[in-house]
């Protein structure tokens, strides 16, 4: 429980923290940020007139990968922005954190908002963006208000607006809020939403770098991605890379939730064993046995506990374990949990949140939910598991955005790893696991 009650021990986010280092919950203001070296990276770039391409090269060297879920190299993405373009270009920060299990961007914005602003300024310099927006999850209104305050501080100090610190760089930044739609986390759904429409994702290509906000070149990055940039510029891409592993540079904030003693955010070097994170979070709640872990937000395939205990937390290692590092949201599930019921809740979520644009997703998520629901409530039929696979397969790869895959992957992985439990439900009309939740359902 490390995120709700400031002031807290500044070491609470872990000894390897750089983005969350030294934060107490009370030192989020501009003067605090400057006191710990904030805005120095920006000043260095502006004073030394480092070329935008050199900034991008440094970020490429750092192997910073997008922290929003897909893990796309940030420097490479920046390089896609057209150089010669007459007219506005945009930078958008994706703080629409709604992937179940993920609550890191909230803490970055709450405890260190200026690092995001500085990261965006550096990205604006590198990509030639003239204005930026931070799209903030509507559910965290107080954090949206704080970000507005941080913007006002930065503007008053000359970091934002025309002619930043007298350098000739101009960059305006605004906060925009969502209002309860998971799909707006998808970057083109987010852009549609910013234009004042339903958040229905766009067909790609064209990608945002050529056709983004208002049809202008746009770069969208996650909050944590921007937050890492000042450190990279201040300390060098090589130093950041070395914090992690080849192709997996730096630290990553892991939001650990579910059945652990101390849920919260822990910032670790990429490549840290999962077992270490679990230990930092106080282990499985009540000393119970670990059953399974969803290592990268609810859209990531579930991994059996034993396998996860042998896995390191970086993009490539988690992929080898058959899942995804995703947003770094680690959902811990103990032995008392009914996996059918767990999947039922997730399937309901995707069904609820499908934007309805693509038939395979709109219809398929409903099918999957109804099938898992009937298995869970004791009305499952022989053949339902094959049917589930079939529906999942018919969604995957057939939709405009990745929400379809995000709904199908949990279904496939839950059934693949815990087929016995599903089969037991179908055959006996009740749960194999003696959890309170399961008993409640069986009653």
């Amino acid at each position: 429980m490390n995120s709700a009650h400031p002031p807290f021990d500044p070491g609470i986010f872990g000894p390897d923290a750089i983005i969350l280092k030294g934060l107490t919950g009370l030192n989020w203001r501009l003067k605090d940020y400057e006191a710990r070296g904030g805005y120095q990276a920006l000043k260095k770039i502006l004073a030394d007139r480092i070329a935008p391409d050199a900034v991008i090269a440094e970020v490429k060297k750092s192997a910073l990968r997008g922290r929003g879920g897909a893990g796309f190299p940030a420097g490479l993405k920046w390089s896609f922005m057209p150089r010669q373009y007459a007219g506005p270009k945009y930078l958008v920060c994706n703080s629409d954190e709604g992937e179940p299990g993920t609550f890191k961007d909230r803490d970055i914005l709450r405890y260190n908002p200026h690092t995001v602003i500085e990261g965006m300024l550096i990205a604006a310099y590198a990509t030639g963006a003239t204005a930026g927006y931070n799209y903030i999850h509507g559910e965290i209104w107080e954090i949206y208000e704080r970000f507005e305050e941080a913007i006002a501080e930065a503007r008053a100090a000359g970091y934002l607006g025309r002619n930043v610190l007298g350098s000739g760089l101009s960059f305006e930044l605004y906060a925009h809020h969502g209002w309860g739609a998971y799909i707006c986390g998808e970057e083109t759904g987010l852009l549609e939403s910013m234009e004042g429409k339903k958040g229905q994702p766009r067909f790609k290509p064209p990608f945002p770098a050529s056709y983004g906000l208002y049809g202008r070149p746009t770069t969208v990055n996650n909050t944590e991605t921007f937050a890492a940039v000042p450190w990279i510029i201040a300390n060098g891409g090589q130093a950041y890379l070395e914090l992690g592993r080849p192709n997996n540079g730096g630290t990553k904030i892991f939001s650990i939730s579910g059945h652990v003693e101390r849920p919260g955010n822990y910032e670790l070097r990429l490549g840290t064993p999962f077992a270490k994170l679990l230990e930092m979070a106080g282990g499985v709640r009540g000393g119970r046995k670990l059953k399974a872990v969803i290592p990268g937000g609810s859209s990531a395939p579930v991994v059996p506990g034993e396998m996860m205990l042998a896995t390191d937390l970086d993009y490539d290692s988690v992929a080898k374990a058959g899942s995804m590092l995703g947003s770094g949201a680690v959902i811990v599930i103990d032995e008392t949990t009914c996996m059918v019921r767990a999947l039922e809740r997730l399937s309901y979520f995707y069904y609820e949140e499908s934007c309805g644009q693509c038939t395979p997703c709109r219809e398929g998520t409903g099918w999957m939910y109804r099938i898992v629901h009937r298995i869970e409530t004791g009305k499952g039929r022989q053949g339902d598991l094959d049917l589930l696979y079939d529906v999942a397969d018919n969604i995957m790869g057939r939709t405009i955005c990745a929400l379809g895959d995000a709904a199908a992957l949990p279904v496939r992985s839950f059934v693949a790893h815990f087929r016995d439990e599903f089969q037991y439900h179908i055959e006996h009309g009740r749960c194999q696991v003696g959890s309170p939740a399961a008993r409640e359902m069986a009653a």
């Binding site: 490390n2 506005p88 609550f103 925009h176 309860g180 998971y182 949201a329 599930i333």
Partner: protein, 157 residues
């Protein structure tokens, strides 16, 4: 239709976007309108559309797409509890049952005195603080165990 303060807030939101992109402020404007009126009636949505110079149907689409807009009246307090999996693993279902029992209502219902509306919600991005509840959209309360809920309800006006 809307108060001067509300219109000022909408104008401030509109100023964030290029002059020919006023529609970008529709989400913010609908939030302001909902806050003043309690819920978004057809008339209010049409007013907001007109104020921003967009077709009414475009504003309806937005009002119906995003989950936190209330198109029907709600109680004086709207409580939304997240029951998504990470929260459910940490006691959200028990918290939700407790709320329902204490209030004598189910999800999407309002107490007879019009005081509280209860809703089930999806992930707020606060799963480490589970169970979590949103109070009137803008205030989040954390670690809502049954005891914490009792205390919270006793203090709610």
């Amino acid at each position: 239709m809307l108060s001067k303060e509300s219109l000022q807030k909408i104008d401030a939101a509109t100023a964030k976007y290029p002059p020919d992109q006023k529609q970008s402020a529709v989400m913010a404007a609908l939030v302001v309108a909902q806050e003043e009126k309690g819920h978004l009636s057809t008339e209010v949505i049409e007013f907001v559309a007109g104020y921003l110079g967009m077709p009414p149907v475009a504003a309806y689409e937005v009002a119906t797409f995003y989950g936190m807009y209330d198109l029907k009246p709600v109680g004086r307090h709207k409580l939304c509890i997240c029951t998504n999996l990470p929260c459910a693993l940490a006691g959200a279902n028990e918290a939700a049952e407790h709320l329902k029992r204490k209030l004598g209502i189910g999800f999407n219902e309002t107490t007879a005195d019009g005081r509280i509306t209860l809703k089930e919600a999806e992930c707020f991005g606060a799963c480490g603080d589970a169970p979590v509840m949103l109070v009137n959209n803008k205030k989040m309360v954390s670690f809502m165990t049954p005891e914490a809920i009792d205390k919270f309800l006793a203090e709610l006006k």
